[in-house]
Amino acid sequence: MYAWIWRRLPGPFAAKLAIAVVLVLGIIALLMFVVFPWLDPLLPFNEVSVDN
């Protein structure tokens, strides 16, 4: 999968590397700012109150 993506990236090695880094950072940002905040309240880690 990753080898396939790497082959699909255009340009010379440096360009591929730069694009790959940007892609990875973008995915991490997507997770941190969109996916995880959405997922967070659905999981039981944050139940700190007693049922009142």
Partner: protein, 385 residues
């Protein structure tokens, strides 16, 4: 290619080395002499040769010439050749080696690419493995998010809420008439956790309130009122205001700051301290004002017989924040209720299985007209240094 000239250089030097390394020439001599010397090996003449050579060599280059004649042209002839042979070989080797490495490298890459004939199943297995590894990394990243990144988000919200609360108080806005969901209305200080420990308390225990800081259970008493002022807070991530709640011991102070007053609560005696409290720890000066809340005239202790400084309960036990903890709401008339403060958080850490309940009792109310800020209050009540 660069090796060529270098290699070319040394061959011109050997004479010099031979000069400098008088003794070192001995092996060479044997090498040079190669075949013939083996015959001479044990023979005395060799000694004379050695002894003879150094002086002649020291003399200068011409003697070299004279030296050679002693070892006839074959000695001189094969000598340089024998030197050149190995060195050229050495000199050639690098170029060959480099070429080989390059060739090998490229071919190696080609070879790696070549085994592509994994077959469809092989590729599928590899892809599945990559996906699993990726998911594992995502889960790890989620843990980092929960424990650390939410702290950053919450710190920002807490800071904004704190500024707004300060502004509200400075502008003397009335607060109690309208407690707004998710809006800060008080501040909690716990000297035991450091002089700078302070969080705003928001109205409501919803996700949004708790993301800012501790939240007030709606409908429970307000600071200083008789009844039970219930506050929930996160223990892991999101600022983790109540992370160290299990480190509190009885008689530790919890200060609630409102627009007009400081309310000083002290943690009630723990389960194992109830008996003999008044003569035991309860007699110490820091426990002034802290009683067991038990009524000695009633067998069992009366309405507050279930109230302890620290308790671990099930999440379903909502009565932990009732006016009289763990008792129906109408157990006592309002006037007879003690003024309690109950903090709740998850327990054990990183788990949602249970709740940690810390209950404290109001011991002192200090108007802000007497003590202007929390720093001065701390020096008066002898809190954390």
């Amino acid at each position: 290619m660069a090796a060529g000239p270098d290699a070319g250089g040394p061959p011109s030097e050997p004479g010099g080395r031979a000069r400098a390394e008088g003794p070192g020439t001995a092996p060479r001599g044997t090498e040079r002499a190669g075949n013939p010397p083996s015959e001479r090996m044990g023979t005395p003449p060799r000694g004379t040769e050695r002894a003879g050579n150094p002086p002649t060599e020291r003399m200068g280059t011409p003697p070299r010439g004279t030296g050679r004649p002693t070892q006839p042209t074959r000695g001189g002839g094969p000598g340089p050749d024998s030197r050149r042979r190995p060195r050229p070989v050495v000199a050639d080797q690098p170029t060959e080696v480099f070429a080989a490495v390059e060739a090998g490298g490229t071919t190696a890459v080609k070879e790696k690419a070549a085994p592509a004939p994994l077959g469809k199943s092989g590729v599928a297995i590899r892809t599945a493995g990559e996906i699993l590894i990726t998911l594992g990394l995502v889960v790890l990243l989620f843990m980092v998010y929960e424990v650390y990144v939410t702290d950053l988000f919450s710190a920002e919200k807490q800071s904004a809420a704190s500024d707004q609360l300060q502004g509200d108080w400075a502008q003397d806005r009335t607060l109690h008439p309208g407690l707004v969901d998710g809006k800060a209305f008080a501040r909690i200080h716990i000297p035991e956790f450091g002089a700078d420990f302070n969080f705003t308390i928001q109205e409501g225990t919803g996700e949004d309130s708790l993301a800012i800081g501790p939240g007030h259970y709606k409908g429970t008493a307000l600071p200083g009122e008789p009844g039970n002022f219930g506050v929930a807070g996160h223990r892991v991530g999101k600022g983790a205001p109540f992370n160290d709640l299990d480190n509190l011991s009885s008689c530790d102070q919890i200060v609630i700051e409102t627009q007009t007053d400081f309310y000083i609560y002290k943690v009630l005696p723990y389960d194992d301290e109830i008996s003999g409290w008044s003569s035991g720890k309860g007699a110490q000066p820091e426990c002034k004002g802290v009683s067991t809340l038990r009524n000695p005239s009633i067998p069992g202790g009366g309405p507050y017989d279930q109230t302890f400084g620290r308790k671990v309960v099930l999440p379903s036990q909502g009565d932990a924040v009732n006016p009289v903890p763990y008792k129906p709401a109408d157990t006592l008339p309002k006037a007879q209720e003690a003024s309690l403060l109950t903090l709740t958080t998850c327990h054990p850490q990183f788990s949602a299985k249970q709740r940690l309940i810390i209950t404290s009792v109001l011991t002192q109310q200090v108007p802000k007209s007497q003590v202007a800020d929390y720093g001065k209050l701390l020096t008066e009540i002898g809190g954390a240094a």
